[in-house]
């Protein structure tokens, strides 16, 4: 599992929130024939929380990492 994570370079929380905003319900949305179990997390709930969190995070990051991003690819 660590090997998987080592390749991931996006660690900023705000980036994760942006990713979640996309991968949870966008892209090619089709139903597979199996449901993947996710340990102890309800993804629907997570999706709602992300929206609220991202707003709060953005406020906290005023002049911080957002400023650094400044339109650069993340």
């Amino acid at each position: 599992m660590d090997d998987e994570f080592d390749v991931v370079t996006k660690s900023k929380d705000v980036t994760l929130l942006e990713i979640l905003d996309r991968v949870l319900d966008k892209g090619v949305v089709i139903s597979g024939d199996i449901v993947i179990s996710v340990t102890d997390v309800d993804l629907i709930y997570l999706g709602l929380k992300v929206m609220l969190s991202s707003v709060e995070t953005m406020e906290k990051l005023r002049g911080g990492p957002m400023e650094e991003m400044g339109g650069e690819p993340i």
Partner: protein
């Protein structure tokens, strides 16, 4: 590669092999490989049936798609898309082949970028309230509690409507900045009170430098707003969906 029977699907690409690029391992350290679907490909890895760490899973999903994006046109799948077998994956996705092809052609050499804009809604609301009170001509002292209640409700309604109008005007003004480069756009206004707009734009890869210039102009011209720019992303918001294609 472990010979697990279940298949996790990362994305669809405009090639039926991924030999030209090097990818890290997928879930449970299984290799990522491509299942050819005529001239396009389904990028997958085998896995058992659960994702034990959602954060890592999401990051891995996005990371693989982003690596593929540098060499191919990609149609990212929603996180957690999986099938019970290789055969089931092929048979189910083959039904969508034409739709995949249409999207791949339409989205070649394009990417999306995102903008979230926060506005100081509390201050704006306060100012609106002051303005309304200043222009109210009716005498409000001595009115009955019932009338006072209705008056407050109505004032609340007026403020909300004025905020919506103001938001629409601001978003239209900001949207103008992208007219020359946006091929398609998705604008969600006031998803929450503070989130003025959550926007995604589809642009051609050749326009990347222009986007940076526009971002800087926007930040300068609307300096009382907070911006979060992100991208380039695979075109998550611009895949035209068809539920079935039998």
């Amino acid at each position: 590669m472990k010979n697990s029977s279940k298949i996790y699907v990362f994305c669809i690409i405009d090639s039926n092999n991924i030999n030209s690029i090097s990818l890290p391992c997928g879930f449970e350290n299984n290799s990522i490989y491509c299942i050819p679907l005529n001239d396009i490909g389904i990028v997958v890895c085998n896995f058992s049936d659960k994702i034990s760490d959602v954060k890592r899973g999401v990051l891995l999903h996005e990371n693989i798609i982003e690596l593929l994006m540098s060499s191919f046109t990609v149609l990212p799948m929603k996180f957690q898309t999986a099938f019970s077998s290789h055969e089931k994956t092929l048979s189910e996705l083959f039904k969508l082949y034409n739709n995949f092809k249409e999207n791949l052609v339409r989205l070649t050499d394009k990417f999306e970028f995102g903008i979230k804009v926060l506005w100081p809604v509390d201050n704006i609301e306060e100012n609106l309230l002051k303005n309304i009170k200043a222009t109210e001509t009716s005498v409000i002292s001595g009115i009955s509690p019932a009338k006072d209640y209705l008056r407050k409700r109505y004032m609340n309604y007026r403020i909300k409507e004025m905020l919506k109008q103001k938001a629409k005007i601001l978003v239209d003004e900001m949207d103008e900045y992208f007219t020359d480069i946006a091929i398609e756009k998705k604008l969600k206004i006031l998803q929450t009170d503070k989130l003025l707009v959550n926007a995604a734009y589809l642009v051609d890869k050749t326009q990347k430098d222009k986007i940076h210039i526009i971002f800087k102009r926007l930040k300068k011209d609307f300096n009382d707003l907070e911006f979060l720019f992100s991208g380039p992303w695979p075109p998550y918001n611009f895949i035209k969906k068809k539920r079935t294609e039998d």
